[in-house]
Amino acid sequence: MDFLQYDFMQRALLAGIITAIVCPVIGSFVVVRRQSLIGDGLGHIAFAGVTGGYMLGIYPVLGALFLTMLGAAGIEVVRRRHAEFADMGLAIFFYSGIAMAIIFSTITRMPSAGLLSFLFGSIITVSIMDIMIIAGCATVVLAIVYLLFDKLILIALDEDIASVAGINTATITMLFSMLTAAVVVVGMTVVGILLVSALMIVPVATAHLLRLGFKATMGAAVIFSVVSVLIGLTSSFYLDIAPGGTIVMTAILLYISTVIVREGLTLKERWKGSSSLTRN
């Protein structure tokens, strides 16, 4: 635990744990809404926000927050108006984000070290300002999810049923898009733009394998996510590898281990069943 004596590591761990809690909370709804790739699309828009912010002299994380929320609103509008081509709309925003990022970073000649830390995550660049933004966003996200919990599940299950019940689905889904954008920016600092979506999806996918109810699945996803971040950040420190890779690989190894354990238990149950039939 000697790595905890370093201030930068304490900051990275704090930011990492907040991210690990908030990512799967939003991810639980994103997965059941069949929008698992939205985090990737928003991540690329966040990249444009970082480079645009740098170009305009705005704090890059704030630039990312502004542009990602704008992009999330656009994606939601396209999804509502052209539901049959929702993925195509997402792809257009995705490409626009990366194209803007290339243009902004080229114009400003942004240093490659800075770009890489946003793309792959960094444990040494997490500042006090970053932690304040992360904690602020996370508090707002968790409070809104708590208040709208049942409505969000119902909308994910069937928007029409929710509408008939008098729930303002357009406003709530737009608000949810904003929350997703905020979480992408929260996670970007630690895990990196390219892999922030993975922390929203992989722990939730692992939790789904346990076949629990919605709240229990979300709780299990948060545990898988926190474990991934703790192991990933520690190994990032000792192996001198960008944390995005180690955190997400840990989450994926947890997923694979859970699949193996689950399949093993299923085979054991089947074997028990067939041997008891043979005895009878």
Binding site: D150, L154, A156, L157, S163, V164, A165, F214
Partner: protein
Amino acid sequence: MFEVTLSNIEFAYDYNVVLKDISMTITKGDFVAVVGPNGAGKSTMLKIMAGLIKPKSGSVKIGDKDISTARVQGLIGYVPQNYGKNVLGFPATVAEVVSLGLTLGPTTTKHNQQAGKHITNHMLELVGVENLRNRRIGELSGGQQQRVMVAMALASNPELLLLDEPTSGIDYEASARIYDLLGTLNKNLGITVVMVSHDIDKAIHCANKVACINKGLCFYGSSLEFDATHAGARHLWYYTG
């Protein structure tokens, strides 16, 4: 007095007229089977009654409230036809799904957990799925899922239950049980039911009224009259709108 009144409803997708001049009154305790061929506008009419889409002209009133302007939260329980695509793999238990219905009503019982649990248990018993309460909804058969969705709709204590093809894709026995359940809810609890169905024979057996639609309203009256007048030639009504 609770009454659903449709007045001169017209609806078109672009220039394709789907419904024209539909007027009918559904009184409290009615069980209306909406029948008609594919593309006749049955589901569109149900969506208009649910307030999901607005008619081009005409109005739908529940009591004295026009559903396009007044909030009718909790008055209507709606079970759509195509919820199955979302339910598949949905990580929520049957009890969790049914308890979502508590948030649909005008006064939320969510704050009182004991009352909420009691209502959820009662709804599960009412539709006969109490033994499945801890199973995930996506793991159930089509008939069981349909019962769970009906239980969720009922949890808000609605006056009017709208169902779009509740037996679609469900085997014969499970369909019969769904019709029995709806008949029981209608008779014993006095819930007004409007159900779109392809299965005319079964639908008119449990409904007291039939609305036959093919763009316009071809027939609206008692199911006995429909059965007596058009037995063996019901299909003719499909082409006379």
